[in-house]
Symmetry: C2
DNA sequence: ACAGCATTGTTGGCGGCGTCTACATTCGGG
DNA sequence: CCCGAATGTAGACGCCGCCAACAATGCTGT
């Protein structure tokens, strides 16, 4: 994501057209979000950072909420990648795979706390909301795959997968969400996840 | 300009001092939050609603965040009451009691969605944050009591209570949080909670 | 090649917001 | 009963999101 476009010639730093302002806005917005928190995110300051007039962002996002929605979407995309990657160098047992995905989710959550807040914020445009629900369910499906495999191996109780999956989804999201909002003592964060994983495994073990 | 004082119509209840502006601010703020969402919450509009000058709120809350923090605190108080009440007319088995508290929590969450968002928002003043963490742990303790009782009855696995409780806390909070952010289809909301409760029970059943 | 149009960026302005300071009124304890 | 503390008011400042009018650029069909 280097700005190969914006810095074509070393001399020429300023052009009328930015090249890819939309992407630049999203990138910079996420940095600001991470570094200074959601309250410090303003379209005008973003524009200043990118050396662009204060109204330029409106060409790419119809309002501030639209930018936040887009940011949340990229968050879900990166989350899905992260979770997929977590399944690559890991054993075959359901316990191992669930553990891996759980750790990956919590790691992502703590490493992207403010972004996660945004992803699940109850504030989205109704239209963008559809896309976001779809995105969140995309990672739900990664859980579902895992469960299907576990059921096939006889390591997970039978039943419709969304009924087995929802409690896992909720538990994982809940723990991550608590961790993110600093509601857990540091010690609970470290060793707590192990207990949570064990709890999930018991919860969906075959009867 | 002082005729409001000297020539006051009998019904005119307008006084220089409001009486209990602080409480009125909190009450009205929660209404606005519920009815028009967090984005529509502004100190100035709040002041207008209550017929006071735009700077009056600053006498009671040093800034907007302070008001939000206070609002979150009252939320935790009401939540604790609600959960306590849920244990009153319910059977003695751990399953019944956990079910009752879970339903009460989810009911509170859906009935106070925006407030719950605020309560767990990662945005608080460091100083107020202490109070909030304490408040959130107060309801954690209600869970802990329940677990202790369940262990005593032999219906819950042994072990340090925070280690048994954390997964329950996380699951419950996660489900409520998902419900609140509209990430669950309506059907999952209704029947999903039963599955989640069953999952929790299996997760902390004696070995 | 180039005219015409859509895209993208700029400038200026509007009203609302949060916060600060200076001032006014009221309350309550010596 | 008076004086300081609490509480409310009035005005100003700078920032914000958003809008409308205008300017530069890119692209496409002929």
């Amino acid at each position: 994501m280097t700005d190969t476009l914006t810095v074509m010639t070393p001399m020429q730093t300023r052009r009328y057209h930015h090249g890819d302002l939309r992407a630049a806005l999203l990138t910079r917005a996420e940095e600001t979000l991470r570094e200074k928190g959601p309250a410090a995110l303003s379209l005008r300051e973003l524009a200043r950072d990118l050396d662009v007039s204060h109204a330029a962002p409106s060409r790419h996002f119809k309002d501030k909420q639209a930018l936040l929605d887009a940011l949340a979407l990229t968050g879900f995309d990166r989350l899905a990648e992260t979770l997929a990657a977590s399944q690559e160098d890991v054993g075959e047992t359901f316990a191992e795979r669930l553990g891996a995905i759980a750790r990956a989710y919590v790691d992502f959550a703590t490493a992207n706390a403010e972004l996660l807040d945004l992803m699940y914020a109850k504030k989205h445009d109704p239209t963008a909301s559809e896309a976001l629900v779809a995105a969140s369910q995309r990672w739900g499906e990664q859980l579902v795959e895992l469960i299907a495999e576990g059921q096939h191996r006889g390591e997970v109780r039978q039943g419709p997968m969304e009924r087995v999956g929802l409690p896992l989804f909720a538990t994982l999201h809940g723990f991550a969400s608590l961790a993110v909002s600093d509601m857990l003592p540091a010690e609970a964060l470290e060793h707590g996840l192990d207990d949570v994983i064990a709890h999930m495994l018991r919860g969906c073990a075959p009867e």
